[in-house]
């Protein structure tokens, strides 16, 4: 475990103490196994207590964890024969988004997702998973192809947001996102979207119009980053924690608000603790979604998609 989060410290400290005692027992004549058992019991309680009561800000930290599995990690676990394709045919290839075809349980699917890096070098190449317009246009190209060949589309969402850069603006960041929203609304194949890390605003949404939207338990989905909201609302990004709570950005909150369909459980301590287990949890949800959606006609899919989004929102009548 390389990166320890603030709220996990008591657990890590206790674990260290236990392993220290174990070493001591091994190296010396004194038997400390009673103490060890007591501490291990306490560790279990502590873990349940901490991981069972994660605050929104804790989940923000988990969603941003440097070792958190990325789109490609899941692609390799869940699909076979994945072939990646590049480029938007207009400007370039944006490696902040990956797109390709693969088999999911012997059925061809199109897989698209934001792609972060896990170290500085890869993050520079992937622009920290923050796409330019060409990334969204590449995604759209593959979605259209999926529609042509009747393949379901699976989108993994994991971005701080669309890249706020000069070139991105010049090439039409707004239009690229808007175009994806509009076109995804009309795709005549099933679309399943899963937020696996951070779902940052419009940059996330541009891969996020689907028939079913799921979120990993510790992922977040938000209209603006907690830091951004805090600096606008309270003129101080130090209030990010408060903003994270007020904006209701966790999977549990968004399930309650009926914005998402399912919460995909995570292993204790977060997805990065056990990729195999995480992939298995995700597999289960994905299989159910695709099974249900594959039974719908294209017209039913489109009508349900509209109905789904039409009901999101809340207002009063005068």
């Amino acid at each position: 475990m390389k990166q320890v989060l603030e709220f996990e410290k008591p657990i890590v400290d206790l674990k260290e103490k236990i392993s220290e005692l174990k070493r001591f027992t091994q190296d010396s004549e004194i038997d400390l196994s009673d103490e060890i058992t007591t501490l291990e019991k306490r560790l279990a309680v502590l873990e349940n207590d901490i991981y069972g009561n994660l605050k929104p800000w804790d989940r923000v930290q988990l969603a941003r964890h440097s070792e958190r599995p990325t789109t490609l990690d899941y692609v390799h676990k869940l699909f076979t024969d994945f072939i990646e394709f590049h480029g938007d045919r207009l400007f370039g290839d944006d490696e902040a988004i990956i797109a390709g075809i693969a088999y999911y349980k012997d059925n061809p699917v199109t897989v698209i997702g934001h792609q972060r890096g896990k170290d500085t070098k890869e993050n520079l190449r992937r622009n920290f998973g923050m796409p330019h317009p060409e990334g969204y246009r590449k995604a759209l190209r593959h979605m259209k192809q999926a529609e042509k060949f009747g393949r379901p589309i699976i989108c993994f969402i994991d971005t701080k947001g669309a890249y706020p850069g000069k070139a991105a603006e010049e090439r039409g960041q707004s239009e690229a996102i808007a175009r994806n929203l509009m076109e995804m609304a009309g795709l005549r194949v099933p679309i399943v979207c899963v937020v696996i890390g951070e779902g940052g605003s419009g940059g996330a949404l541009a891969l996020g119009v689907g028939d079913e939207i799921h979120m990993l338990e510790n992922s977040t989905y938000s209209v603006i980053s907690p830091e951004g909201a805090a600096s606008i609302l309270w003129k101080d990004s130090a209030y990010a924690q408060r903003a994270a709570e007020s904006m209701k950005i966790t999977a549990y909150d968004l399930k309650k608000l009926q914005v998402i369909d399912k919460i995909v459980p995570e292993p204790k301590g977060g997805a990065h603790r056990d990729l195999d287990q995480q992939a298995a949890y995700l597999d289960e949800v994905l299989e159910q979604s695709l099974h249900t959606l594959s039974k719908c006609s294209a017209d039913t899919l489109l009508e349900n998609r509209w109905q789904k989004y039409k009901q999101i929102g809340d207002y009063n009548l005068l």
Binding site: G165, V223, V259
Partner: protein, 286 residues
């Protein structure tokens, strides 16, 4: 920096005179935001709030905009009874909305309905940047989506004037999802053969520029309007360089191929009228 030690230090701070501090008398006179010249408000109004000297386009309130475009008494408003709730129980949100309702006389930041421009019927939505910066929450998303559905069902074209800082933070993801809701509504309208013009006015940014504003059949803008996805300050912080003065103006977007046209407010009605005529559905009986 070493040269700072040798640079000329100003010995006196300049304090603006009382005369300069006192703002222009409320109501009667108006100072141009562009060239700072002072005009009679009446004169500015007659010029549709465009500065006669420098051509600066001042923001127009929704109803003033509607007055400049539609034939007299031709319009009918839709869904004015939708008002904002506080779905996330966001601290201080209700007070802010109530304050803006009083300030603007509007129930929310968009007016939707139908009317005629030189006798040609069209549905419309006009956003108002003085209501919570025109930010889009559930009510705005719902009203625009409904207006598009109405237009589709009645076979009307759809004209939207956008003015918005983006999605409204206080409604969290519900606001973000209005981008999807409105974009699907545009898609449905468009697939049914509907004709849509998006007119971007100052400012059109964030979630609004990244949804319905950018997907009209024609996307046009008023001169000088700020149009873009991310805010200038955020971009400058991210790329660590100063952005050009004209960055994200309508003219900048036009130069980069992101707009069909930049149109002066005085010529807007004429252009819209022509566009409606071009896209009349007459002749082809559906």
């Amino acid at each position: 920096m070493l040269k700072d030690f040798f640079g000329k230090r100003r010995k006196y701070a300049s304090i603006p005179s009382e005369q300069a501090k006192a703002d222009v008398p409320e109501g009667l006179m108006q100072k141009c935001n562009g060239c700072h010249k002072i005009y009679y408000r009446k004169e500015m109004n007659k010029n549709l709030q465009v500065c006669p000297n420098c051509g600066y386009h001042h923001p127009l309130q929704a109803w003033d905009r509607i007055d400049t475009l539609f034939d007299e008494n031709s319009f009918e408003e839709w869904d004015n009874d939708l008002i904002t709730s506080n779905p996330l129980q966001f601290p201080g949100y209700e007070e802010k909305v109530v304050k803006d309702r009083k300030k603007t006389g509007l129930n929310e930041g968009v007016v939707t309905g139908k009317g005629t421009i030189e006798g040609q019927a069209t549905a419309f939505a006009v956003m108002d940047s003085t209501f919570r910066m025109g930010s889009m929450g559930s009510v705005i998303g719902e009203k625009i989506a409904r207006a598009l559905e109405n237009a589709k069902n009645e076979g009307l074209p759809f004209i939207i004037f956008t003015a918005s800082g983006g999605a409204r933070m206080q409604e969290g993801l519900l606001s973000l999802m209005q981008m999807t809701k409105t974009s699907i509504a545009v898609k449905r309208f468009s697939d049914a053969g509907g004709f849509m013009v998006s007119v971007m006015t100052h400012p059109t940014t964030g979630g609004v520029s990244a949804s319905f504003a950018s997907i009209g059949d024609y996307n046009i803008a008023e001169p000088g309007a700020l149009i873009g996805f991310a805010g200038r300050r955020i971009i400058e912080q991210t790329i660590r360089e100063k952005l050009p003065e004209d960055f994200q103006t309508a003219e900048f977007q036009l130069k980069h191929g992101q707009l069909d046209k930049v149109v002066h407010r005085q010529e807007m009605q004429e252009l819209l009228s022509k566009l409606l005529k071009f896209h009349q559905k007459g002749g082809e009986e559906a």
